[in-house]
């Protein structure tokens, strides 16, 4: 049986479980850039859509979820019609 490459080892003891599961957190550790600003826009958009879809969930949205909708780099999502022109 072929041995698995051991040159790059994941440092299980150093990272928490969430970090192990989170590629970005692992990248920050590997690059030694703990303060790297990284915003997962698609995840934030998904979360904000989920809250908007259900009025009860939006009414009782947890404070930090609402706050995180604000610092998106664009005020509004850019939309294109089917011919590619901006709307």
């Amino acid at each position: 049986m072929a041995a698995l490459p051991t040159k790059v080892q994941v440092k299980n003891q150093v990272l928490s479980r969430n970090e192990r599961a989170d590629d970005i957190a692992r990248l920050k550790v590997e690059l030694r850039l703990p303060n790297l600003e990284y915003i997962d826009i698609s995840a934030q958009l998904e979360l904000s859509r989920a809250l908007k879809r259900w009025p009860l969930l939006a009414d009782f949205a947890i404070a930090d979820e609402q706050a995180e909708q604000l610092p998106l780099p664009v005020a509004q999502a850019v939309q294109q019609d089917k011919f590619g022109a901006l709307t």
Binding site: R53, W54, L56, L57
Partner: protein, 239 residues
């Protein structure tokens, strides 16, 4: 010995079937398991083909002045079950008073069982605080369904117990949305796995078996096995 309890965030989320499934899964992984029914409904035993007319159990024994530990049934050499017993509502209320009055009863009982089992699994009722006082518990799991009622109830409580999503249906937009919100908000509490919605769980009870025995290849049985494996791994990490 490690204790795990399952308690619904609200009623009817499937805690009893979950305890039966996890008990069966842990035993299949070579662990010695005792499942203890703390619910006055006394339903856990039905997953293991104990006669519906069989009314004995630890609570019945407490009222009748008998030995509580003599009420356990051996399903195999390493899987045993201690039913609650058949009690009227008034009798369960008096058990609740007894347990509230001496909340250490089950801590002492756990200590007396420690040498014989690797796992004690408690099926807890949703409301009765006395019945939920089981002593030390490494995995006090709260069972939820990804619905708005459980969402509101989780928001209202300030607990830190681990939350397990049961009967998860990935085809449901609402359930996917709630899981997304919960993963974000309860990152540390939410277990990294869910138990998927699966008709095999309902069929298993009707067939008087835990789901892992009734339909070992079903999604829910595989999920229960994953949960059991996760518990074994976490126990090692926490030890």
């Amino acid at each position: 010995m490690t204790s795990l309890s399952a308690r619904g965030v609200r009623g009817g989320v499937g805690s009893t079937s979950l305890v039966a499934a996890v008990g069966h899964a842990l035993e299949s992984l070579g662990e010695r398991v005792l499942m203890i029914d703390m619910c006055p409904e006394n339903l856990l035993r039905l997953h293991f083909n104990l006669l519906a007319s069989q009314e004995l159990g630890w609570a019945r024994a407490m009222l009748d002045g008998q030995d509580w530990h003599a009420q356990a049934w051996s399903l195999s050499s390493t899987l045993q079950i201690l039913p609650y017993g058949g009690l009227s509502a008034a009798e369960s209320a008096s058990i609740e008073q007894l347990l509230l009055h001496d909340p250490q009863i089950w801590a002492r009982r756990q200590a007396s069982l420690a040498a014989n089992y690797d796992w004690l699994l408690f099926d807890l009722p949703q409301r009765l605080a006395g019945h939920a006082a089981i002593g030390p518990c490494l995995f006090p799991i709260q069972v939820a369904e990804a619905d708005a009622a459980c969402h509101m109830l989780l928001l209202q409580q300030a607990g830190s117990n681990p939350v397990l999503v049961n009967r998860f249906d990935p085809g449901s937009q609402l359930q996917r949305d709630l899981l997304l919100i919960w993963r974000k908000h309860y990152a540390a509490r939410l277990l990294p796995l869910t138990i998927h919605a699966d008709e095999a769980v309902r069929e298993a009870l009707a067939f008087k078996q835990p789901v892992g025995q009734y339909a070992p290849d079903s999604l829910a049985a595989q999920d229960a096995l994953s949960l059991a494996t996760w518990c074994l791994t976490r126990r090692r990490e926490l030890a």
